[in-house]
């Protein structure tokens, strides 16, 4: 084709033919420029259509059926959704456990992450090492091994109670008492503060130092500087972290699954929404119903995220 282009004017080709080649070559040029990009994207594109979008659409279809994994699905209309809304006490119970978890774990985790980020933001010697150490729980945290470790720590005769016993306090079996079990899971989540912490750290680095210098010249206290400079300038980062962590918290599954042995017990106190969904799908052969539960979760997360974005215009300040 390069040959053709080079020779074309010399041969005084017809205008029509010339235009055709130009249009053709524009597409080809575009393709030549982007082909490597698409090639590199290919694994992701395949994954997205094959493993994300495709299954999501199928699950939307299944949510209107009585699919039981073994027989072919039969259309039941909105029956699954009606049942969720009107006749499923476990849905309400799982939702309340999950909302409690989100409401507690997200703020605590963000506050903790910010505190550590502030501490690490100073010129500490060996900073990369500290950052790596503090980030470690986030890498390990979602794993089964850590959930098992947590089970050991917070059991009746675990390390936590051994420590409390030093002060003469006889602690309960935290993970297996319905009044406390959810808090051990919140603690496990807060402990995995690494990824918001790293993002906070990056955000803190963006704040110009001269602002602090000017403020201290004006006699502002450290606390006032934090309150009047750091926090407002950090709001975009806080916003980002809050949205990401909220979505993550809604989807939490592994810790509750491991710690309760998949039952959500004692007394449904750790019956996370996703755990209930899993029980319905794989324990009770109600894949259609579980799909409906999954879509309700999608809608709830969407509502929360939309609300965060709407509220953000009142408290998030973009420096411009």
């Amino acid at each position: 084709m390069n040959n053709a282009m080079r020779t074309m004017p010399a041969e005084a080709a017809t205008v029509e033919r010339y235009q055709g080649v130009v249009a053709d070559s524009r597409f080809k040029r575009l393709w030549n420029a982007n082909a490597p990009g698409y090639l590199f994207l290919l694994p992701w594109l395949l994954g997205f259509f094959g493993l994300t979008l495709g299954p999501a659409l199928i699950s939307l279809y299944l949510s209107f059926t009585d699919f039981d994994m073994l027989r072919s699905p039969g259309w039941v209309g909105a029956a699954n959704y009606v049942r969720i809304a009107t006749a499923d006490p476990k849905f309400a119970s799982a939702m309340s456990v999950t909302l409690t978890y989100v409401a507690l774990s997200v703020p605590f985790k963000l506050a903790f992450a910010l505190m550590v980020a502030l501490a690490l933001n100073r010129g500490v010697r060996g900073l990369p090492i500290y950052r790596a150490i503090f980030y470690l729980p986030s890498l390990l945290g979602a794993s089964v091994a850590i959930a098992v470790l947590w089970r050991q720590l917070f059991a009746g005769d675990g390390l936590v109670n051994a420590a409390l016993a030093q002060f003469g306090i006889q602690g309960p079996s935290w993970i297996s008492h319905p009044s406390y079990s959810i808090y051990t899971l919140v603690a496990l989540s807060v402990w995995q503060f690494g990824s918001p912490m790293i993002i906070f750290l990056a955000g803190l680095r963006q704040i110009p130092q001269d602002m602090y210098e000017a403020a201290s010249l004006d006699g502002a206290s450290k606390f006032r500087q934090f309150y009047k400079i750091t926090l407002p300038l950090l709001t975009p980062v806080i916003f980002f972290n809050a949205v990401v962590q909220t979505i993550d918290a809604f989807k939490a599954f592994t810790p509750a699954f491991i710690i309760s042995g998949g039952t959500g017990g004692p007394i449904n106190s750790t019956l996370f929404y996703t755990l209930y969904l899993y029980q319905e799908a794989f324990g009770n052969f109600r894949m259609g119903y579980a799909s409906a539960l999954a879509w309700i979760l999608v809608i709830i997360i969407a509502i929360f995220t939309a609300f965060s974005f709407l509220s953000s215009r009142y408290w998030v300040h973009y420096d411009d």
């Binding site: 039981d68 994994m69 073994l70 027989r71 059991a155 009746g156 005769d157 309960p172 079996s173 993970i175 297996s176 008492h177 319905p178 042995g261 998949g262 039952t263 017990g265 004692p266 007394i267 449904n268 899993y278 029980q279 794989f282 324990g283 009770n284 052969f285 894949m287």
Partner: protein
């Protein structure tokens, strides 16, 4: 650069390729490929794989791949494989799920293979029935067992308390267990596990009272009265320290590793007899088996010989004949029986039972003697649990915990249990 291939080289290369593929077909190609799936631990896997080796030695040209998982992971995996039309040929099936899988057409009926290919002539008739759904055989029982009380003999001895006998009632056992707790020979040791949420125990209790967990037509087989008295009895055990407190019981994930007996929190625990060998492996002290206690001195025993697990053949299998032949080998071949022992329960075939009994060690003899010695404590096999029974088991556990933690009275717990089970069964 061009690659030149002369005619001679081409011919030589082609011949090499041909001979290689011929080598491949003789060495690797198989007449049949069998896939097995079962739940259990490593010792069971070793025994099962040994049987597969024996079978392969007798049937050259068959390849067998076996896979095993823990109970909790097993059912999601199996359901996913069946839904994905990728079911294993031979499936280990449980009494609890056989109705669900058979009704949904996932299992192949095996009647037409009997007796020529599948010879169950010397099986206990009642146990063959256990693998039948709607009059067709869907599962071949791999062994019989029964619900049991596991006792730590050393802990009882240390406290100076005799082991319960076949005549011991729940009331008496409650007193013995409370005494054992009070004796305080070991720190944090209670007399027994809190069995109020254990379905086999509750079922045994109901059967002694002439009721059932579920009826044959998929209804709740007991009333609020029985359930209330059950919860009430355990409330008393909790009050006088006979059983572990509820937050310790809640650690039990329904497996051997987390049973309060294995954790050293109780001197008595509740499990199935075929688990005895594994329990003994995980406990330093010498254990023994006893039946569940009697409700009253003259009540009938609520036990039954349960077909512990089945081998079923997938209806999707392309090698059903081969799969049936493997199952037949598994339950009727003496070498296979010796390899399996009593790990999956007592063999159903009378001939295999004799083969195994002659070679059992002391630990293996305990469950064998326990199950064969139940005598009049054992009654008729109840009908297979209806669809939804899995959810029912979780419901009993949940409500027993609410009663245990004092969130519900025994009476409210009893009422709620009947209500919820009724609702679950109606939904199916």
């Amino acid at each position: 650069m061009t690659l030149r291939v002369s005619r001679r080289n081409f011919m030589a290369g082609g011949a090499t390729l041909l001979s290689l593929s011929a080598l491949g077909s003789s060495a690797f190609a198989q007449d049949a490929r069998l896939r097995l799936l079962w739940w259990g631990s490593q010792p069971r896997a070793d025994r099962t794989n040994k049987v597969s080796e024996l079978y392969k030695a007798k049937n050259p040209g068959i390849s067998i791949t076996g896979e095993f998982l823990g109970w909790g992971d097993y059912w999601p995996r199996l359901a996913t494989q069946v839904a994905g039309k990728n079911a294993p040929d031979v499936i280990q099936m449980d009494y609890r799920y056989i109705v669900e899988y058979a009704h949904r057409g996932a299992l192949a009926p095996l009647d037409s293979y009997m007796p020529s290919k599948l010879n169950l002539a010397d099986f206990d008739k009642a146990q063959i029935e256990g693998g039948s759904v709607d009059g067709h055989l869907y599962g071949v029982s791999l062994g019989a067992n029964s619900a049991a009380t596991m006792l730590n003999t050393i802990a009882f001895e240390e406290a100076g308390i005799d082991l319960p006998t076949k005549a011991t009632t729940w009331e008496e056992f409650g007193k013995m267990a409370a005494e054992l707790t009070k004796a305080g020979k070991r720190k944090g040791l209670f007399g027994m596990a809190d069995g109020s949420g254990g379905e086999p125990l509750f079922e045994n209790y109901l059967r002694q009272r002439g009721k059932a967990l579920y009826t044959a037509d998929a209804k709740v087989g007991f009333g609020v009265e029985e359930a209330t008295e059950w919860f009430d009895m355990w409330n008393k055990f909790r009050e006088n320290g006979a059983c572990v407190p509820p937050d310790i019981q809640a650690l039990d994930k329904n497996d051997i590793e987390t049973n309060t007996l294995t954790l050293g929190k109780s001197a008595a625990g509740f499990a199935h007899s075929n688990q005895f060998v594994a329990y003994q492996q995980m406990n330093k002290d010498k254990l023994t088996l006893a039946n569940h206690m009697r409700v009253t001195k003259d009540s009938k025993g609520g036990h039954y010989r349960k077909p512990s697990m089945f081998f079923s053949v997938s209806s999707q299998s392309k090698v059903v004949d081969q799969a049936v032949d493997y199952v037949n080998f598994f339950v009727t071949n003496p070498e296979a029986a010796l390899a399996l022992g009593v790990e999956r329960g007592i063999p159903e075939s009378a001939a295999m039972r004799e083969v195994v009994a002659a070679k059992l060690d002391a630990v293996g003899k305990v469950p064998l003697e326990y199950v064969s010695g139940l005598g009049d404590l054992a009654g008729k096999l109840p009908p297979p649990p209806p669809a939804g029974a899995g959810e029912g088991e979780l419901t009993l556990r949940n409500i027993s915990e609410q009663v245990g933690f004092g969130q519900l009275t025994a009476a409210d717990g009893g009422k709620q249990l009947v209500d919820e089970l009724t609702r679950i069964l109606a939904r199916g």
